[in-house]
């Protein structure tokens, strides 16, 4: 009879504690807002897990604390506890039931996974490129429009085709719930269907070196019409012929262009690379001990062949050595479209010159 009373107590306490914990979860362990179609089934699964966590934690803790306080040794009692060795039926029970439960969660997980990864109607592809330490996006179905921010039409499944240029990065927008690594040498895909118009932030979730922390990009979910308008404006692109070299240089340096700003600041603080502020025509101390003047030739060399001269305090092999080729490609593209003769490196130097 005594045992029975204890069990009733335990059951009541576990139920109370489970519910209380689950409610507490919503306060201290809450998820951010859900802004994609994929988030819905995932949040259901989260909910299931949260219930299970609350229950299991309550179950074990209630029994432990109950034993600590209810069965504890009375004053003056010197005897030992009852000599109970074990109980095979109990052992089998608490092996088989958890086995069923976890397998159940596995099946639930598999179905949810299928739901969020299977191809859907009306998909749109966006190419994502990650590099130390910036993002860029291309819209192959919209005439290869390129952008440094990810703008997406609402309620349409987007297939992100992702590539990394150097090391592993990871695509994560918490409001969309899903995450996918970008792996050099292979293409990975991720499906998201944004459902809420608004502004979000994409942050690289895999450690990728010095400036991993700041490898971020804006994500804008807009209505279908706004998306169309944005694409048209993007496709028009800036008219380089109308810009001054400094303006063009600022554009090339931005994440829209070649993302120099991911490593070079323009406000005097050092980052992965030397700052550009006050650089032009000032003396630069090199790693080999010599000093040189940051004139046009030095800057040009540093852009095209960065390992040639390493500035004191910075590491070699950090800056990609292929900017010469990438500039040439872009110069041709723009030259063909606008009929002007560009020199991107000269534009950049002009821009650096303006940063005194």
């Amino acid at each position: 009879m005594g045992r029975f009373r204890h069990f009733i107590n335990i059951i009541i306490l576990v139920i109370l504690s489970t519910v209380a914990l689950r409610l507490l979860f919503d306060v201290i362990l809450a998820l951010p807002m859900a802004a994609s179609a994929e988030a819905r089934p995932i949040d259901h699964l989260f909910n299931g897990h949260f219930w299970m966590i609350s229950f299991l934690f309550s179950l074990i803790m209630v029994m432990m604390i109950y034993s600590i306080f209810v069965f504890r040794r009375a004053d003056g009692d010197e005897t030992d506890g009852p000599h109970i060795h074990g109980n095979s039926k109990l052992e089998i029970t608490w092996t088989v039931i958890p086995l069923m439960v976890v397998l159940g969660f596995g099946v639930w997980g598999a179905f949810t996974l299928n739901e969020i990864t299977r191809p859907k109607d009306g998909e749109m592809t966006v190419n994502v490129t990650g590099r130390q330490w910036s993002w860029s996006f291309k819209y192959p179905e919209q005439g290869d429009a390129a952008a440094a921010e990810l703008v997406l039409p609402v309620n349409r499944t987007i297939v992100l085709k992702m590539n990394a240029e150097d090391v592993i990065h990871s695509f994560w927008v918490p409001e969309f719930r899903v995450k996918q690594d970008l792996v050099p040498g292979r293409e990975t895909t991720l499906r998201i269907t944004p459902t809420e118009i608004g502004n979000y932030r994409l942050r690289c979730a895999e450690i990728c070196g010095q400036n991993h922390t700041t490898m971020e990009a804006d994500v804008k979910v807009v209505s279908a019409e706004d998306f169309q308008a944005w694409i048209e404006q993007k496709s028009a692109g800036p008219s380089f012929a109308d810009m001054t070299p400094e303006e063009r240089g600022a554009y090339w340096a931005s994440t829209e262009g070649f993302a120099c700003v991911a490593c070079h600041t323009t406000d005097g603080t050092p980052s992965a690379g030397p700052t550009w502020q006050g650089l032009y025509m000032h003396n630069v101390k090199l790693a080999d001990g010599s000093t040189t003047e940051a004139n046009d030739e030095y800057l040009h060399n540093s852009i095209i062949d960065p390992n040639l001269q390493i500035v004191d305090g910075f590491l070699p092999n950090v800056m990609p050595g292929n900017f010469g080729d990438r500039f040439a490609e872009r110069e041709q593209e723009v030259g063909a479209a606008e009929g002007i003769d560009l020199d991107i490196s000269a534009d950049l130097i002009a821009y650096i010159k303006s940063l005194q």
Binding site: P41, I60, S67, P98, I207, T213, N317
Partner: protein
Amino acid sequence: MRTLKILLTSALVKGLVGQAVGWALGYSFVALLRALRGLPTPWLYEPAVAFGAIISLLGFLVAAGVLADWLRWIVGKKTELKHGAPAGQPGWARYINVDTNHKVIGVQYAITSILLLLVGGYFAIVFRIELAQPGMQWLTNDEFNTLFSAHGIVMIAGILLGVGAMVNYLVPLMIGAPDMAFPRLNAFSYWVTIPSAVIILMGMAVGGWDTGWVGYATLSLKAPLGVVLFLLGFWMNGFSSIASSLNMLVTVTTMRAKGMTLFRMPIVVWGSIAASIIQLTATQTVGVALTLTVAERVLGLNFFDPVGGGDPILYQHLFWFYSHPVVYVFVLPGLGVIAELLPVFARKPLFGYRWVALSSLGIALVGFLVWAHHMFTSGMDDALRVPFMFSTMLVAVPTGVKFFSWVATMWEGKLPKNPPTPLLFVFGAISIFLIGGVTGPILGTIPTDLHLHDSYWIVGHFHATMFGGYIFPFFAALYYWYPKVTGRMYKESLGKLHFWLMLPAFWVMSIGQMSVGLLGMRRRVADYDPALGITTTHILITLAALVIGWSVLIMIYNFIASARTEPAADTNPWGSRSPEWQIPSPIPEFNYVTPIEVVGEPYDYGLAGSVYTRTIAPAPSGD
């Protein structure tokens, strides 16, 4: 003066000097080879630093005299095992010299482990202060990256040494053996860890590294110089793990006392066996991963860089094939300690001894099948992801058996009204390992992991599992066996203070980490966006970290002070049945002066008149 002399002539100091000399020799050797070919060697030239590091290990071992006996064997000389401090030196000098007694080695492991814990914890506190506020306060990105990477690997090295401490000290005692099967190999395993720790810490001095403790390719191929020393130091630590686990498995197989059948061994031994099986095998694959990375960086071979046809994901498979199972190495001996202490204090048999024993093996074996759950977002095929999801979920089952058995042991048990410190730490361990464990399956189901991967939820999950499965049980073990090791009782009031500071602080830290993780806090970032609404929680985490740090310092003070001032402790203050408590404290050099024999069950508390072990008269010698 005399103390200084003993210190300076100790194996430890000689070894460190030898390590420095070895490093210089290795470095100059490479420089010389280059000079012969007419090439200059720049300062901190990577291949020279790496080769120097490898030679420095040898330098340490030779100078410390770890290899002396083996070198004599090579030239055909027989050697005796040396015992005790070097002639004419006080007893404590044993601990800084090469000694083959398993108890000395156990204590050496424990002290080194605590030192590493302090160093790694100190790194955590430094970067936690940076994280208390959004914006960059006092660290640069590079410093932050180096600090958390070093924190991770130093703590893990610390855990492996702490496991070594428990296994070395307890297992021979518990199975009634005089020592380990290979005492020299045992000393060797310990002494390798010192140069390995030095090399890892040197990595911070030569530019640090920014890969975290996992060292993923291709970042590890581009990271600063420090990463090479991290990889080599990690490798050497693994080398030591393999040697010591081999020793431990042989000891349990061949050195058990008469009548000590497998299912009559104290339960800690089972945890140690399971942990050793993992260490013996899986460590080799991470060794390959680290070796190949060093080869790719230093020698120009190609395995992981896709530019030459390599595969960065291959590194992850090789790495996690070890680094998942190794998390069970961290916890299995600790869970054994929990199961050992509960019956003693509840005065009741361990519920379902066989199930608890076999669940350790179950965890270890299933643990080999789940490694890819760390790679759910890496771009693996679904055909691989889903089986790994199911196998991951399975680990919950044997772990659950342990929890239920512990609870059943406490149920109707006579736990003391005023629990002593070791028991408090056991309670704390159960609650924390539970929250760590139940936050595991949510990572195991892929869709939820897609949100949680590389977020602070993971950080919360694994600090809880490691504190609950290792740190708390380790502290419980330290307090529990302290009177056996030193012959004196620790100060109970300080022990309680330690516990009551550490437990709540830990809960704040761990739940805080999970909370910010759900909201979008990434791992391994030096800064975060205040718009995430996590600033207050971060302040709390940092404050909690400081409290944990202080509480650990209290423990260390307690142990040092009590060894000098407290009166002698009883032989068996806890009333345990385990054989090591039946002999004097401190324990004689070869444990059981008269051999013991097992005649009953280990945990028959509450059964009047039952005995577990008794001494037997030494067998009459034949010749």
